[in-house]
Symmetry: C2
Subunit: 438 residues, 2 copies
Amino acid sequence: MSDFSIRRLDAGSPGFSDDLDRLLAWESVADQQVESTVADILRQVRVRGDAAVIEFTNRFDRRDLKRAEEFCLDTSALHAALERIPASSRDALQAAASRVREYHEHQLQSSWQYQEADGTILGQQITPMERVGIYVPGGKASYPSSVLMNAIPAKVAGVDEIQMVVPAPDGQLNDLVLAAAAIAGVDRVFTIGGAQAVAALAYGTDSIRRVDKIVGPGNIFVASAKRAVFGQVAIDMIAGPSEILVICDGETDPDWIAMDLLSQAEHDEQAQSILLCPDAAFLDAVERSLEKLLKTLPREAIASRSIAERGALVLVQDIQQAIDVSNRIAPEHLEVSVSEPEQYLPRIRHAGAIFLGRYTAEALGDYCAGPNHVLPTSGTARFSSPLGVYDFQKRSSIIYCSEQGADKLGRVASTLARGEGLDAHARSAEFRVSDGDD
Amino acid sequence: MSDFSIRRLDAGSPGFSDDLDRLLAWESVADQQVESTVADILRQVRVRGDAAVIEFTNRFDRRDLKRAEEFCLDTSALHAALERIPASSRDALQAAASRVREYHEHQLQSSWQYQEADGTILGQQITPMERVGIYVPGGKASYPSSVLMNAIPAKVAGVDEIQMVVPAPDGQLNDLVLAAAAIAGVDRVFTIGGAQAVAALAYGTDSIRRVDKIVGPGNIFVASAKRAVFGQVAIDMIAGPSEILVICDGETDPDWIAMDLLSQAEHDEQAQSILLCPDAAFLDAVERSLEKLLKTLPREAIASRSIAERGALVLVQDIQQAIDVSNRIAPEHLEVSVSEPEQYLPRIRHAGAIFLGRYTAEALGDYCAGPNHVLPTSGTARFSSPLGVYDFQKRSSIIYCSEQGADKLGRVASTLARGEGLDAHARSAEFRVSDGDD
């Protein structure tokens, strides 16, 4: 393919800020047609339960289900898949799962309390959610790593039951996905997908129990259904295309950096790969590497379109300027491929995951380093975090006033409540004040 | 008023489960007309910025703004309000703020790292958001306590800049609200409201900077606008009507319990107050207290309608059954007005805030006990937490592989990536494997 191209930008040029805005511009399309289709599916499943799930599944996934039991898999089916897959895959999945589990155990949060001088106790009780639903896409984008990354944090949090949905178009299922579900400790799997699966998880049916939170990626129907049930249940973020920003000092092998950029680009044509470097000759070298390596990729068509349309090689003045640009982008994946990278950590303000040093390929984080690969995209690292154990725990405030504490606090509350015109609030507090006149 | 009534239920009766479902039934109304009005306002503000904000504000709040500066208040205006209010209010606000601050400091989360035997470092870097917007309703529901509860956690988190919007219908502003903003450390206040204020915070204008998160309650236009910009910025939950569930052993003064129920009921007609008690005679006593106390409330009309339409006195077999019912309801506020209440804490699975003991009136938590009064409503305590410092911090994963670590992890990643058909991922990892053939 001779149509290789990648955008070149210079962070020192006067038009850079506008160039960057144009490069980053991406918005999820809100599709009226999709939204009304999804609204209908949600309504039908809510009212008719399993019958509607069966109908939509037969229609969209070309299946021939007669009864709800036919889309239910129990743990024995998952363990059978685990036995069927090659030993090398089984070992790799188990190694990855064990590292992901260990890392996430560091995220567990505990209840806390403190007592004041007058005996009043304040704190928070932290508890796991009861039931969580994991959406796993079917077909080509059915990734076992995604099962591990979504299920293990919930398991570590102590969630009672994990239900997974994965569509089986034409009845096809991916054994690696089922095996990953077995390893991650998923309790029940339903071979359904689309908005109908989201609806079944959000509202419950005779065979699928209502969950408290739905996580996992999906197509526009799934994303639209998740947005529609948000509030009814919790959801994770609505992910945009994957992105990587690499900051390099020019001393890493350009083939390594090029392949790191391509590992994002091969995901999909909307994926975004950007390199920031103060060395123009190194940018040239990476450009040559990209052109050379692209030709060797099975997913060349996707990757070269992503690189051409959304990629960029950006000349910066120095690493500090690169970090400033990165903070403005708030990238999903940030690779800091420089010597002594740890010195820059305190200056990095917004990023989903930070990969430090020349040896830390972003792909390691996708699979087995330990941290989660579900990360905030499209600049949402400004306000969002990687998926974690904290996403499956929730908090209850604890307030236990002593008689003396209620007396003291009651006076303050009474003044403030009367200032807001809420008399019952004031008097409820005053009842507990020792010389209250109520 | 002789039309006092409150529903009586018996948790031991066969129809109780259905009765409870009917009692709890509440759904936020999705109003097509509101949504399309809001979509237009968002679009106009996005495109025309301050000019659109001025137009909508003049139209909806009956104001006569000519320039954007007229809706901007700086901190000197806030401090002037703090000087104007009565000393008792100032003292009470300052006392409340200081307790809220101290409690929330316990929620601060810190970055963490650990190093593996081969030198690989894993962890999370925790950082504050840069800029947050707080919505404060205008008119009668303009509550200074709400300013403290929304702004202080952001301040404790280390957010760089807090912008507050509060509408000034007919030019009227509440000095207590401005004073609370001064105490809480709000940086800038804009006297605008509605969907146009949400839009200005989400997209930014010439005079209002784009924020990372918008928090705070509002009417249906505000809620609808927040839902629409969700994803573009973070938002807090969309709150439903306030609710209280009281579990009492029958030994607390019935007037105290009745007033606690009324302190929710006076909020609005949709508010919900439920009492669970194993002592039927106590339920009778609370019913008499409710009737008696209602007549003495300035907000009697609202409270009696809330009690009649959404309230309930429920007979339970024992405290354990009361807790089971409570866990099913997942109440916003749970008062456990019994002796030795701490023994029940481990069995309480879902609640926004737990008020233990006879002296802990829920109203203390609304104002000054320390914990936040922004709590999950309508059963969302199954998956949501009180507003807290954690809502204004976010996390970045840290991965720093040693050469040896990259060698080990690269082999696992390579196997898994090839299993998913992602060759560039595999080869990016293999480049860092010592005997990799790339």
